[in-house]
């Protein structure tokens, strides 16, 4: 496997970073807080594409995760999360700065097989929604059936979100995650704050406040 270049987007030294929502100030709920919205910025997001048979072994070896081959499944461990997006497409989210190393290890493990891994971390961000009215806010926003009876923990889907799209995932009993595109993030946030107003919605600033810089400085950016 030589014919694809990999690129580490993170600076060697800490650099000023801006999440897509850097310009939106924190806002407490009016009255009792029924929903809390937190941006989890600066994570590394990778799109992994390939046949499950091709990917499963390498994924298991490098990430310690079983490749979720059932539709709408979300697998997680301390390294990160891996979500089924389509029969040959997964979303891998790991700590900021980890993506490059993991991609390289995956590429090495996969060798000459046909697959693709693309860093999309600058292009999307993750919003966390929690609180007792989180489901209602989602019901106002997406056509997908988010009723906990239909949407157990460990599920993740891509669906319509207001007039944008989002990856919607349920990470535990009380927390939901939305992965939205950078350019739509401001719109999605404004939508959520508006939808949540009646329940008392609090918006917390970007977490973490600064991005981690490059974890391992490699000698060459191009894996060949």
């Amino acid at each position: 496997m030589s014919k694809v270049v990999q690129f580490d987007p993170h600076p060697a030294q800490a650099a000023a970073t801006q999440s897509p929502l850097h310009h939106v100030a924190a806002k407490p709920a009016v009255g009792e807080t029924g929903v809390t919205l937190t941006e989890r910025a600066f994570l590394d997001h990778l799109i992994v594409r390939g046949e499950p048979g091709v990917l499963a072994g390498a994924v298991e070896a490098v990430l310690g995760l079983e490749l979720p081959t059932q539709p709408q499944r979300l697998a997680r461990n301390e390294t990160g999360s891996l979500q089924w997006l389509s029969p040959d497409e997964w979303l891998l989210i790991v700590a900021g700065g980890e993506g490059f190393r993991l991609q390289r290890e995956l590429r090495e493990a996969l060798g000459e097989a046909h697959f693709s891994i693309v860093d999309v971390g600058g292009g999307q961000t993750l919003l966390e929604l929690s609180g007792k009215h989180a489901v209602e806010v989602l019901m106002k926003s997406t056509v997908y059936d988010v009723d906990p009876r239909h949407f157990p923990v460990g599920k993740g889907v891509t669906s319509v979100f207001a007039k944008a799209t989002a990856v919607i995932r349920r990470v535990d009993e009380s927390r939901w995650e939305l992965v939205v595109r950078r350019s739509f993030a401001d719109y999605c946030l404004r939508w959520l704050l508006d939808a949540g107003e009646e329940y008392g919605i609090a918006h917390q600033p970007t977490q973490p406040a600064v991005a981690s810089h490059r974890q391992t400085v490699t000698d060459t950016e191009t894996v060949s």
Binding site: P71, S86, P87, V157, V160
Partner: protein, 111 residues
């Protein structure tokens, strides 16, 4: 508004996640250069337009982004089946009301 079973996501999803992309099973002529102007025009513009059973191509645009096929009744809007790319339909038009895909074409007729 349709409720569509995506054969890749293996569940029913709302129509808003999908786009219709016209008639299914339209193959691009294998050798375009050997295809007449008329036949090329047919390939570009002439589609089945049945009042009845229709095989159509849809994409799960806001979802798995896969293209797949739907057999649907264009009168009742009932979806009779959905199937993956490369598969053939199991429900086809044979009821008296269904209009067969026209066989005769206009080729040369207007010359």
């Amino acid at each position: 508004m349709f409720h569509i079973y995506c054969p890749y996501c293996a569940e029913y999803r709302e129509e808003e996640e999908f786009h219709p992309r016209g008639q299914a099973h339209i193959a691009r002529p294998a050798d375009p250069e050997a295809t007449s102007d008329d036949a090329w025009g047919d390939y570009l513009f002439f589609r089945d337009n049945p009042r009845g059973v229709h095989h159509e191509l849809w994409v799960h645009a806001v979802g798995c982004r896969k293209f797949f096929n739907i057999t649907r009744d264009t009168r009742s809007y009932a979806i009779l089946e959905t199937y993956r790319m490369g598969e053939r339909p199991t429900v086809t038009a044979n009821g008296p009301e269904a209009v067969p895909s026209a066989t005769a074409t206009l080729t040369g007729a207007l010359a």
